[in-house]
């Protein structure tokens, strides 16, 4: 057995439960409560957004794509801004997806790079990793293997009935297509709603927990509600650096505050471009 294989064994939690049980419990929340879907909620949120957009000076000849980065006031990262942390994040996303889908990871660096090399948009990240050498490469590999070990040790085997699917793209057009709310959700679980909130959203993060992480998920909760007509019952962030989960139930108020945030970000974006 290699050193890595030893590392990949699940670590028992102090209370006797495995770390996986804790993660699973955090993602599931209170399993006895799956709130009924208010049939008017999705339409109401959409109308609120549409009304808000009506009062904004949108450019009718172009499309404004609103992502979680827009809401944070960040621009897109270019190839010059690749750092070790960003590269670790990209590789861990690929490995998280691989682990959820296949249940195995053989060599974190090899598997992660093989995944990223398929995507031309990731070429800068791949180049960055290939250029690492000496102690920088050693540290990078060390961090990647540690986070992978935490992922494998803590991430639970999901019930087949949860129908896990990864990297689900959501794009909700508003204002006749002039504004598009867009996102890619790392993991969606649960079958489509039949009247109760049955879907959960999970994001995997390789960095330290930040306040904005919850905002990202609330934005995705709004996207899912607008897309499917039903809000998710819960959203969660899984941190591959620590194996911890930050999760919260989704309430109407949470979605309403997100609508305000989206409208505020669009207003700010439009003003910034004038």
């Amino acid at each position: 057995m290699t050193d890595l294989a030893v590392l990949l064994q699940p670590t028992p939690a102090p209370n006797g439960r495995t770390g996986r049980d804790d993660v699973l419990a955090a993602i599931r929340g209170n399993t006895g409560v799956r709130p009924p879907v208010d049939p008017g909620l999705s339409g109401g949120l959409r109308e609120w957004l549409e009304d808000g957009l009506c009062s904004l000076p949108l450019d009718r000849d172009s499309e404004l794509v609103v992502t979680k980065q827009t809401l944070r006031g960040e621009g897109r990262k270019d190839s010059e801004s690749i750092t070790s942390a960003i590269a670790i994040g990209a590789l861990m996303h690929a490995l998280f997806r691989q682990y959820v889908t296949t249940g195995r990871i053989e060599d974190p660096m090899e598997d992660g790079l093989a995944s990223l090399e398929l995507d031309p948009r990731r070429s800068a990240t791949v180049r960055f990793v290939h250029r690492l050498g000496g102690s920088a490469l050693h540290q990078f590999r060390d961090e990647l293997e540690t986070q992978t070990a935490i992922l494998v040790g803590r991430w639970p085997r999901l019930s087949p009935g949860w129908m896990p699917r990864t990297q689900e793209r959501v794009a909700v057009p508003l204002a006749g297509g002039n504004v598009v709310l867009a996102g890619v959700i790392d993991l969606v679980i649960g079958s489509p709603s039949s009247g109760q909130a049955t879907v959960g959203l999970v994001e995997a993060k390789s960095g330290r927990p930040r306040l904005e992480d919850r905002d990202d998920l609330r934005f995705y909760a709004l996207l899912e509600t607008l897309r499917s007509g039903a809000p998710p019952f819960r959203v969660a962030t899984f941190y591959t650096r620590s194996g911890q989960v930050d999760a919260e139930d989704v309430y109407d108020e949470l979605l309403a505050s997100c609508v305000m945030r989206v409208l505020g970000a669009i207003r700010r974006d439009l003003v910034g471009h004038r």
Binding site: G43, D111, A114, L118, V170
Partner: protein, 314 residues
């Protein structure tokens, strides 16, 4: 966009989509009207073929219709990747799931990848085939492709009330060409084709067809033509009964559009096809996809294999 948009609030979505898909036929294109549309199409194709090189073959598909309307430059040369491979693998996975509903989407897709890879091995690697490409991937890359397919397969499985469909055909893409213009092929992209009862509209056919197409992104200005092309390839296929309706579903935004296959839809689709053929970019490019069984990929849920291309007598 003309058509009926399904209300997004109705839950479960699969019920309203399936209701729309299998609703009894209330109208159909008459034989004489279809004959007129067919003649106009054939004449237009013949005219366009005159400007093609002797060995040039052109395929008109949804991608070409969309690209023609939106991009000034030619489309990229086709290459297998997670985005291009996910659909054939997902459809193979859904067929496997229909045959054995105890499989989860993840398991069904894993088996599909295994089957495709094995089939490529047995045929000693047909150049450019999906199976050959998959067989050459490393674990991390193959997992990404598999994950993409799982997501699409799960969406399709959850989109429809499958027990309510009678003998659905999954991944029933249709390619048709006229005997007089064999170098131009029309390809309709069809995720699910469901036979539906014709009632008083039978006119010698045992059943009609309703088509379900999973669309990418969000509805665009060419969506109607893209869906119309799927309807047209079914309507012109002499082995099938009349095409009754096409449903386009955009999982990324949750929208659905129901289009009855009527004379107007087919006429506007023919116009879009001919306009695409007349565009300089189409005339200068050949077929995008590699040849091979999985490239044409026409199989169905009940394991009846149809041919990849249906020639239509002139």
């Amino acid at each position: 966009m003309i058509g009926t948009a399904l209300p997004s609030m109705a839950l479960p979505r699969s019920r309203s989509l399936t209701d729309a898909l299998i609703a009894p036929a209330d109208s159909r294109v008459s034989r004489s009207e279809l004959g007129e549309i067919r003649r106009r199409l054939e004449d237009g194709l013949l005219e366009s073929a005159g400007s093609l090189g002797i060995h040039q073959r052109v395929r008109i598909d949804a991608y070409r219709l969309r690209f023609h309307a939106s991009e000034p430059s030619g489309p990229d040369v086709f290459a297998w990747g997670p985005r291009t491979a996910r659909r054939p693998i997902a459809l193979e996975g859904v067929r496997g799931w229909l045959a054995n509903k105890r499989l989860t989407p993840i398991q069904a897709v894993a088996e599909a990848v295994e089957r495709l890879t094995r089939a490529a091995d047995e045929r000693r690697g047909a150049g450019g085939s999906l199976g050959t490409w998959l067989a050459g991937l490393r674990l991390g890359a193959k997992s990404t492709v598999q994950a993409e397919a799982v997501t699409l397969a799960t969406q399709l499985i959850g989109a429809i009330d499958w027990p309510r469909l009678t003998h659905p055909f999954v991944g029933d893409d249709r390619s048709i060409s006229f005997a007089s213009v064999p170098q131009i092929v029309l390809r309709g992209r069809i995720e699910v084709r469901s036979p539906i009862a014709l009632g008083s509209l039978q006119d010698g056919y045992p059943s009609g067809s309703a088509v379900f197409a999973v669309m990418t992104g969000r509805p665009t200005s060419t969506a109607r033509h893209e869906l119309g092309l799927a309807g047209l390839t079914v309507a012109l296929d002499p082995k099938l009964g009349p095409a009754i309706r096409v449903i386009g579903w955009w999982p990324q935004c949750g929208r659905a559009l129901v289009l009855p296959v009527d004379g107007q839809l087919l006429e506007t689709t023919v116009s879009a096809i001919l306009a695409t053929l007349r565009s300089p970019t189409t005339a200068s490019t050949g077929p995008r996809r590699p040849s091979g069984r999985w490239a044409t990929g026409v199989r169905n849920a009940t394991a009846r294999t149809t041919t990849g291309e249906v020639p239509i007598a002139s």
